[in-house]
């Protein structure tokens, strides 16, 4: 999906986002608010450079524009699978990006993630999943790994995985499943600009995803386990 198309739909009042080597950054007008926009396009593999570029932009926003909302546009095939990235410590670069998003939130920047095309594993946990809330477009793809690769590693036949995927949100790809898990707040349809404006107005810096996952039936255990440990109980509340 062309990021320009999405940007036009999201920001009818205009934007100055530019792309450089699959890295997106700029600002946009949302209602009366100027919003910082950062992210990736072209199913970007997240290597050390692009992780660092996103972090730099977020730190610059925190330093120069206190309180400005930040929108993270997600389109990634996950972390780049190269020896060089591992040698340079790619996990440190990705953790750094995640920490920068967290710092922005702490300093009062509302942070919103939007999966507009693909979101895979490592590229997603340090971007959209670090936001106050993450949203997705209906045609987006969200997953950890494709079913064929998953079949190889789990040694469960692919046919069986495909069959189970139809009824079970826990490993099947797709934004609806992440919605049920609580990882995605809402799937946006229709007029994107209005939805973005409404979402920005209601962001809260509290991690409610386990509670959402319970309420939506996709993760029935996470919240009860957290609560049991917090309360010092050895049984889960039913």
């Amino acid at each position: 999906m062309d990021w320009n198309t999405i940007a036009s739909a999201l920001f009818p009042r205009g934007h100055d986002i530019t792309e450089r080597d699959l890295f997106l950054s700029g600002t946009a007008q949302v209602g009366e608010t100027r919003v910082a926009v950062v992210g990736t396009t072209g199913h970007a593999p997240i290597g050390v450079e692009i992780a660092l570029a996103q972090a730099r932009f977020i730190l610059q926003t925190v330093r120069e524009h206190p309180g400005r909302p930040i929108l993270i546009l997600v389109d990634t095939v996950g972390q780049r699978l190269r020896h060089r990235d591992e040698m340079l410590g790619i996990n440190s670069y990705m953790a750094h990006l995640g920490k920068c998003v967290e710092l922005a939130r702490r300093q009062g920047h509302p942070v919103l993630g939007l999966v507009y095309d693909q979101a895979l594993s490592g590229g997603f946990i340090t971007s959209g999943l670090m936001a106050d809330a993450c949203y997705a477009l209906p045609d987006s793809t969200i997953r950890v790994m494709g079913l064929p690769a998953m079949a190889r590693i789990t040694k469960v036949p692919e046919e069986r995985l495909t069959e189970l995927a139809a009824s079970n949100p826990v490993f099947a790809p797709g934004p609806e499943n992440y919605l049920r898990m609580g990882g995605v707040r809402e799937i946006w349809q229709g007029e994107l600009g209005a939805q973005l404006e409404a979402a920005l107005a209601e962001l809260a810096p509290v991690d409610e995803r386990a509670a959402l996952g319970l309420a939506r039936g996709g993760r029935k255990f996470a919240q009860p386990v957290i609560e049991a440990i917090m309360a010092g109980r050895d049984v889960l509340a039913s």
């Binding site: 730190l59 790619i90 920068c100 710092l103 594993s121 997603f124 826990v170 490993f171 995803r209 440990i229």
Partner: protein, 298 residues
């Protein structure tokens, strides 16, 4: 003297903390197992591969977790992740002196991939919440499965990482890279290369780990005590200044080493006279020899 590498998660907890001090939350007898594994015909564990609880470290009350590498490589599923989140949140509520994470994990558990991915991001946020509340979090890495995927990111969200020379820390394991990009990209059977690339010594030289110890429980314990002591008087929360310094450090790393192809070239670029000798050194002499050259010494 016990090898940390060879112990199970529970043995590590028993030997690393003050004797008999570990009290477990949601212990095995609570039977809080993964609700997702049975349908894939995969066996469950009574603790879902992680033990969490309260313990004393040199008299100080801390919260502790240990991932069991023997169960699905320590991979994070829904229950496993929630136990870590609950532990971190309770550590905040009880104003613990610290949280000590004994990490050993391949990352997200694919059998319950979506739940695992969201869970790892919840763990990341919970670690940073604890730090923000003034509770230092430290990660110990020394298990045979290393610390990869989302947990490799979690490790670098903590205040300090302690590794043994046998430990490995990274994002994608060599087998994953070889499968995706070919054996000429990363030969996973070249164990020496694997250790040079993701092992404790390389991480220590780059500044991704703050302490390098020998593969002994007593050494991990001593390093954890010293690190926790140090963190009692340091700011534990994220700050703009600290993250800008990290940004500079990571950018410089890329500038200096981004065109190199082999970890040993990085060690040479750091000014180490005989980089070939490093893999052979014991932890103590190694730390002495590289002290003047490693990045981020503080």
């Amino acid at each position: 003297m016990s090898s940390y590498l060879e112990l199970s998660a529970r043995e590590r907890l028993a030997q690393l903390f003050d004797a008999g001090s570990f009290t477990e939350f949601l212990p095995p007898k609570a039977r809080v197992i993964s609700p997702h594994l049975a349908q894939l015909d995969a066996p469950v564990a009574f603790d879902d591969g992680v033990a969490v609880g309260r313990a004393c470290l040199d008299g100080r009350t801390v919260f502790a977790a240990a991932q069991e590498g023997g169960f699905m490589g320590g991979a994070v599923g829904e229950v496993h992740g929630a136990k870590l989140v609950g532990l971190l949140r309770r550590a905040i509520a009880e104003r613990a002196a610290g949280v000590v994470l004994l990490l050993e994990s391949g990352g997200v558990r694919l059998h319950e991939a979506n739940a695992g991915l969201v869970a790892v991001s919840e763990v990341m946020r919970a670690v940073l919440d604890a730090r923000n509340a003034g509770v230092p979090v430290i990660a110990l890495i020394g298990g045979a499965n290393g610390c990869f995927g989302g947990m490799g990111i979690v490790a670098r969200c903590t205040n300090a990482v302690i590794m043994s020379e046998e430990a490995r820390l990274g994002m994608s394991g060599p087998e994953v890279i070889e499968t995706a990009s070919g054996v000429e990209e990363f030969d996973s059977r070249d164990r020496a290369l694997v250790w040079r690339t993701t092992g404790g010594k390389h991480r220590y030289l780059l500044g991704d780990c703050q302490e390098l110890v020998a593969d002994k429980v007593a050494d991990f314990r001593a390093a954890a005590i010293a690190t926790l002591d140090r963190l009692q008087v340091q700011e534990t929360a994220l700050s703009l200044a600290a993250l800008e310094a990290e940004q500079d450090m990571l950018a410089r790393r890329l500038d200096r080493f981004g065109t190199l192809e082999e970890p040993m070239q990085i060690w040479a670029a750091l000014g180490i006279a005989e980089p070939r000798s490093l893999p052979l050194l014991e932890a103590g002499p190694f730390v002495e020899q590289v002290a003047a050259h490693r990045i981020g010494a503080n």
